[in-house]
């Protein structure tokens, strides 16, 4: 009886260990978790890697002929539909290369990448899987970029969808109702432009001596100068109109940077951040909530790259401006 019980015990115990034992023997999943040690973040990654892929096959993109097949990540046919500046329209299933300035007619559809070696005007309601433009690119209303778009300068119409990533080497001008996830350009501006430029000033590197902890009811008072970092652990934080904070700000509730207030450092919020009209933040803005930028507000300084990064979303009002990079895990929208 004892032997039977013992045998039964061992059998029952082995049920728990048997799958593991099989895995030890078969080694199906014994590799270390993969870390790409060569990975480097690059906001223009999509455009650069696509261009690199093309240039690996042909040294001069002008030399590509209509209907030529190139071995990219897979065999791809390259269409060169128009050699003139005549408007083009239609539906394209292959990679499309425009060697001259192009005017794409409304409601065209490009299911693969589009490469423009000169200026491009994309017509209303056009569907663009991805686009690479060596010169300026303007999007009419309701253009839908599925993946990415890169150009020297990009001007969008209203209600465009800018896909996963839109990057420009000089400037990105966004129209009302545009939706985006990631944007990158030396200057990103909403509306018609004309917001006062924030010049990078050669101030001594600002390193406030300490973090000042604000009590629940305290605010950064109107028009005053604060030469410290500000940390507010509970409740909302308001930097009142015209106040100047030379350090950075950290808040666990909603943060409001009121009209014409200036923060020379970074603003980090665990919830939403509201940047009201005309307020200026010289550093980066990061939020585990939504960031709303009011009319005429700005992030960063001319000639520098700063970031607006959020988890839940971004709302940009007319004439707001960012120098550098914008990214959200949620949805970005121009109001």
């Amino acid at each position: 009886m004892l032997i039977i019980c013992l045998a039964l015990f061992i059998v029952m115990l082995s049920f728990a260990f048997l799958p593991g034992w099989i895995e030890i023997k078969r080694k199906k999943d014994d590799k270390s978790m993969h870390i790409n040690n060569n990975y480097v973040r690059d906001p223009e990654y999509f455009a650069k890697s696509f261009k690199k892929l093309l240039l690996k096959r042909v040294k001069d993109l002008n030399a590509i002929e209509d209907g030529q097949e190139l071995e990219l990540s897979q065999g791809e046919i390259i269409n060169c539909p128009s050699q003139s500046i005549e408007p083009v329209s239609g539906s394209y299933k292959h990679i499309t290369l425009f060697k001259r300035p192009v005017n794409i007619m409304p409601h065209s559809q490009f299911f693969k990448e589009v490469v423009c070696l000169k200026q491009a005007q994309i017509g209303q309601g056009t569907l663009l899987r991805a686009g690479l433009c060596n010169e300026d690119c303007s999007l009419a209303d309701q253009v839908h970029v599925v993946r990415w778009l890169d150009a020297k300068k990009i001007v969008t119409g209203e209600n465009c969808n800018l896909g996963v990533s839109t990057t420009a080497k000089e400037m990105l001008l966004l129209g009302r109702g545009c939706r985006f996830t990631r944007l990158y350009a030396p200057v990103i501006e909403v509306g018609t432009g004309g917001t006062e430029e924030v010049q990078a000033k050669s101030l001594p590197f600002l390193k406030p001596a300490y973090n000042a902890f604000l009590e629940d009811s305290e605010a950064i008072e109107k028009g005053k100068l604060y030469e410290v970092n500000i940390v507010k652990r509970h409740g909302d934080l308001v930097v009142e109109a015209g106040a100047v904070v030379t350090g950075s700000i950290k808040g666990y509730g909603k943060i409001t940077i009121a009209n014409q207030a200036t923060v020379l450092g970074n603003v980090f919020g665990e919830k939403d951040i509201i940047i009201e009209a005309g307020a200026k933040i010289w550093g980066d803005v990061f939020a585990n909530g939504i960031v709303e930028m009011g009319p005429g507000s700005s992030i960063g300084q001319s000639g520098k790259c700063k970031s607006l990064v959020t988890r839940d979303g971004i709302k940009l009002h007319q004439n707001s401006r960012i120098y550098g990079y914008v990214s959200t895990d949620g949805e970005g929208v121009v109001l």
Binding site: A16, F17, P19, G20, I22, E23, I24, K27, K28, D29, D30, K31, S32, M33, I35, N36, N37, N38, Y39, V40, R41, P43, Y184, N211, F213, N229, I230, V231, R233, G247, S248, I249, K250, Y252, G265, N266, F268, E270, G283, D284, F286, N288, K304, C305, K306, S307, V309, R311, G324, Y325, S327, D329
Partner: protein, 423 residues
């Protein structure tokens, strides 16, 4: 005799309560990781202004791995004029010095520090390196680590947050498939970082600075008295020092780095014993300051205390097992009567003990590992193995406290053999 039985019974109940608290803690962290919005780390920020960084690598007889870490760091995409690499040759008797000098001659970013006087050990070595370091931020790697190109950037960007005093990345074993021990350590690391650390970061509790693949503000550490050379767990000590002064530790789950996990049970035993001893040294030191701190919230204090006592748990449990055996043989086990006790006992045995396994299983799920999760039952062996050596470390920490003796740093043995590389 009656008094002793009462003490034994009370201790038994105490053990059960403590085990339930830690079990619930595991479940809360796991559920948070699975179902709640994840708090974002700021690695997506691009900023043309970067901090000056000194990367410090303590080394004692590290000829087997020294070149690997230096080569990896020299490939970093961090701006050259803002990066300084300080490998510390800490009383090495092998070719470490020669290797470091070779790299220093070849690259101006490498500034080795050779130590043959004073106290040996990581805290003392770091203190000396910090006197030389020019960086505003100190980032520490162990010699067996292989940092990715963008890791320094990912870690240092966290300091843009004015309240962050230290940043911690995620450690991944590079030698997972070597043997059963390394496979189990891989599971433990997954659970510890992917679930435990990230959940604590999500919940704004106390993610821990782990002493490597992480960094801290130099001024902050210098102003608060450098590392204490009597404490073996300088990382835990720094974590609590920062939190008690109103600073935070940020956890960067995406800042991953390979490390070499111990491949022999003897080496692992020594490592876990050292961790236990060091961690418990911190427990004596910070239990009261955590309770008194005006900067910590109630939940931060609770998490801080539970984390401080984590290396006391195996001791409590071991004594609890002995206690229950004594009660059983004394026929005094009838502590709580009634059928409801059976339900509690059954429920705890089924689900309570399952909590850490659930946490590790969840980490495997999040990491996309589908087969290694079958090894989970084998973690039970580690549990008993650790129980013994953690208990030993605990009593060593008590002796440290009583005798005020100085602990000797014992380096973890390396297993990798690198071929000499070119600089």
């Amino acid at each position: 005799m009656v008094g002793i039985i009462w003490i034994l019974k009370l201790y038994f109940i105490f053990t059960v309560v403590v085990m339930v608290i830690y079990g619930v803690r595991h479940y809360i962290f796991t559920y948070n990781r699975l179902y709640y919005p994840q708090r974002k780390y700021c690695q997506d920020i691009l900023d043309s202004d970067v901090f000056s960084v000194s990367v410090v690598i303590p080394m004692h007889n590290e000829e087997a791995v020294a070149e690997g870490v230096l080569q990896a760091l020299l490939r970093s995409n961090y701006p050259e004029d803002k990066l300084e690499i300080i490998p510390i040759n800490d009383f090495s008797e092998d070719k470490t010095q020669e290797i470091l000098d070779k790299y220093a001659a070849a690259d101006k970013r490498v500034h080795p520090l050779h130590r043959f006087e004073g106290d040996r050990g990581k805290p003392a070595a770091l203190n000396e390196a910090m006197k030389l370091a020019k960086g505003e931020i100190i980032i520490v790697f162990d010699a067996d680590y292989i940092p990715a190109r963008d890791l320094v950037k990912k870690l240092s960007i966290g300091f843009l947050d004015p309240q962050v005093g230290a940043v911690m990345g995620r450690v991944v074993p590079v030698n997972t498939g070597k043997n059963l021990l390394t496979r189990l350590l891989d599971l433990e690391r997954s659970g510890g970082y992917q679930v435990d650390q990230q959940a604590r970061y999500n919940m704004d509790l106390l993610p821990q600075y782990g002493g490597t693949v992480g960094g801290f503000r130099k001024d902050l550490l210098m102003d608060t008295g450098s590392f204490n050379i009597r404490v073996l767990a300088e990382d835990t000590e720094l974590t609590y020092r920062l939190f008690c002064r109103g600073w935070k530790v940020s956890y960067a789950n995406s800042a991953e780095c390979y490390e070499e996990a111990p491949e022999s049970w003897v080496v692992r035993a020594r490592q876990i014993q050292r961790w236990s001893r060091g961690h418990n040294q911190c427990m004596w030191r910070y239990f009261v300051p955590v309770l008194k701190s005006t900067y910590l919230t109630f939940w931060e204090k609770l998490d801080g205390l539970l984390l401080l006592c984590i290396y006391m748990m195996p001791v409590i449990l071991l004594l609890g097992i002995i206690d229950s055996l004594l009660l059983f043989f004394m026929d005094e086990m009838h502590i709580i009567a009634g059928w409801i006790f059976l339900i509690f006992l059954g429920a705890y045995n089924t689900f309570g003990n399952f909590a850490p396994f659930f946490e590790i299983g969840t980490a495997c799920f999040l990491d996309g590992a589908r087969q290694r999760v079958f090894l989970l039952p084998y973690i039970a062996f580690n549990f008993y193995f650790y129980m013994w050596f953690i208990t030993k470390g605990f009593f060593q920490a008590i002796l440290d406290l009583i005798t005020r003796r100085k602990a000797t740093w014992q380096k973890t043995a390396r297993f990798r053999q690198e071929k000499g590389g070119t600089v």
